[in-house]
């Protein structure tokens, strides 16, 4: 395998790595950049959403993107969401609603929800469920996650 050099613009910061060509974006973030917020729960099959990041504005399973495919792209990870130390309304809502239990699915779910709210600021419950349908959670039964997204949407509408 010939190493490849890739520049990722991670949370607005350009980061250049030289890595193995079969490295996924997920493991580029984790092993090359030390950003551990995106998780591997399904073994790289795109079936759990725990590795969700926002790639050029779209929610993606970072386990199904080769690092080389993301060269030059903007990658938004959970670590970048709390701008200036201020939690994003979604983060706050997840905390305050009790939507966090073991937390392993939480970063991915929050980013999937952020991609939804970026596109659709006032979603219905069904739209929230659809937006979270790629993010498996075994702890919460989703009830409080859905409530948290609803609450964040309301909080954000007050800001607007």
């Amino acid at each position: 395998m010939k190493p490849i050099t890739v520049t990722l613009i991670v949370n607005e910061q350009p980061r250049t790595i030289t890595t193995e060509p079969n490295r996924t974006l997920l493991y580029a973030l984790r092993d090359d950049l030390g950003l551990y917020g995106a998780k591997d729960a399904c073994g790289g099959e795109g079936e759990c959403g725990a590795c969700t990041v926002i790639l050029d504005g779209e929610p993606v399973n970072s386990c199904l993107v080769l690092a080389g495919q993301a060269d030059g792209c903007h990658v938004e990870t959970i670590e970048g969401l709390a701008a200036g130390g201020q939690l994003h309304p979604l983060q706050r809502a997840f905390v305050e609603t009790g939507a966090v239990q073991c937390g392993f699915c939480t970063p991915g779910a929050i980013l999937a929800a952020k991609a939804l709210l970026d596109r659709l600021p006032d979603p219905t419950d069904d739209q929230i469920r659809e937006a979270l349908s790629g993010n498996l959670c075994r702890c919460t039964g989703y009830t409080k996650m859905i409530a948290a997204v609803r609450r964040a949407a309301e909080d954000m509408s007050h800001v607007r």
Partner: protein, 290 residues
């Protein structure tokens, strides 16, 4: 994770060159290819990423012809009011692909290249009588989608050849299309059986042209000529649709697997054909049959 070498093509010329030089295999969104690599089952040692070739990502209308670049994602389709108007069945299928994360990356061309019998967009594209433009450094050839799909995970693509675009013609009005997918779970679903239908009606309200295609019930997604010949010239409605559904069973050969038995797939296919035809008829302005 399978060991590979990786190249990225930024233009079509780049892509042809890399294909020729490396003998590699093209990936686009990667939503199927990466899963194969994860299982050491990707059929090549060199991966050429085409996902960034802007020239292959478009949705165009030319008279009654709609052409979609192979790198158009499911999310692109869903955002397109043109596709929404012209091919609601394709929209309905795109909506059921995986989860938002899959729809953001997965491409229409990839769905064809992957040639899964259960590929969600394949039945609606077949029922739209879609054609596929294959291109290579040697030139282009245009084939009906049904000829591109050769078997499970098999296409007619030759070495050096890629899927460039998919095109279909709008049916003359009044017409309609529909897609229905049966799966074992609502979220992130994989088709147990899927059916797409398209109907065009004549001035007398009879079926001028009816097309039916099915997924996950044969080695590839398939059209059903038997059902279509039942439909041609008939008055749309429950009786006609039921006959078409029975006929469709002659054109499928489902297998049993972890998701469903062959027998259940047959029964469900018949029911879904009726429902899809009803949906298409309703969309064409007709009244749903029983």
């Amino acid at each position: 994770m399978q060991e590979i070498d990786f190249y990225r093509a930024d233009s079509l010329d780049d892509l042809y060159r890399l294909l020729a030089e490396t003998g590699g295999r093209v990936i686009a969104g990667g939503t199927d290819a990466l899963v194969q690599m994860q299982r050491d089952a990707f059929p090549a040692a060199v991966v050429i990423d085409a996902s960034r070739i802007a020239d292959l990502r478009y949705i165009r209308e030319d008279g009654d012809r709609i052409e979609i670049g192979a790198l158009t994602t499911y999310a692109d389709l869903l955002a397109s009011s043109l596709v929404r108007r012209a091919a609601p069945s394709l929209i309905a299928a795109a909506e059921t692909v995986g989860a938002p994360q899959t729809r953001a990356r997965g491409t229409l061309g990839g769905n064809i290249a992957n040639a899964s019998p259960a590929g969600d967009t394949l039945p609606p594209l077949l029922a739209l009588d879609a054609s596929v433009t294959l291109s290579s450094a040697r030139g282009v050839r245009i084939l009906p989608l049904g000829e591109v799909l050769r078997g499970p995970r098999q296409t007619c693509l030759e070495p050096g050849e890629i899927i460039a675009s998919i095109a279909f013609r709008r049916l003359p009005q009044p017409s309609g299309s529909a897609f229905i997918k049966l799966s074992n779970r609502r979220g992130m679903s994989i088709a147990v059986v899927s059916v797409a239908a398209a109907l065009a009606l004549d001035a007398a309200g009879r079926i001028a042209e009816g097309r039916v295609a099915l997924g996950a019930v044969a080695p590839t997604a398939v059209r059903s000529p038997a059902a279509e010949s039942v439909l041609a010239g008939e008055v749309p409605g429950a009786e006609t649709f039921r006959r078409a559904a029975r006929a469709a069973l002659d054109d499928i050969a489902p297998i049993g697997d972890v998701r469903a038995t062959a027998a259940y797939r047959r029964e469900a296919a018949a029911r879904l054909v009726v429902r899809a035809l009803n949906g298409a008829w309703e969309h064409a302005g007709g009244r749903a049959g029983a």
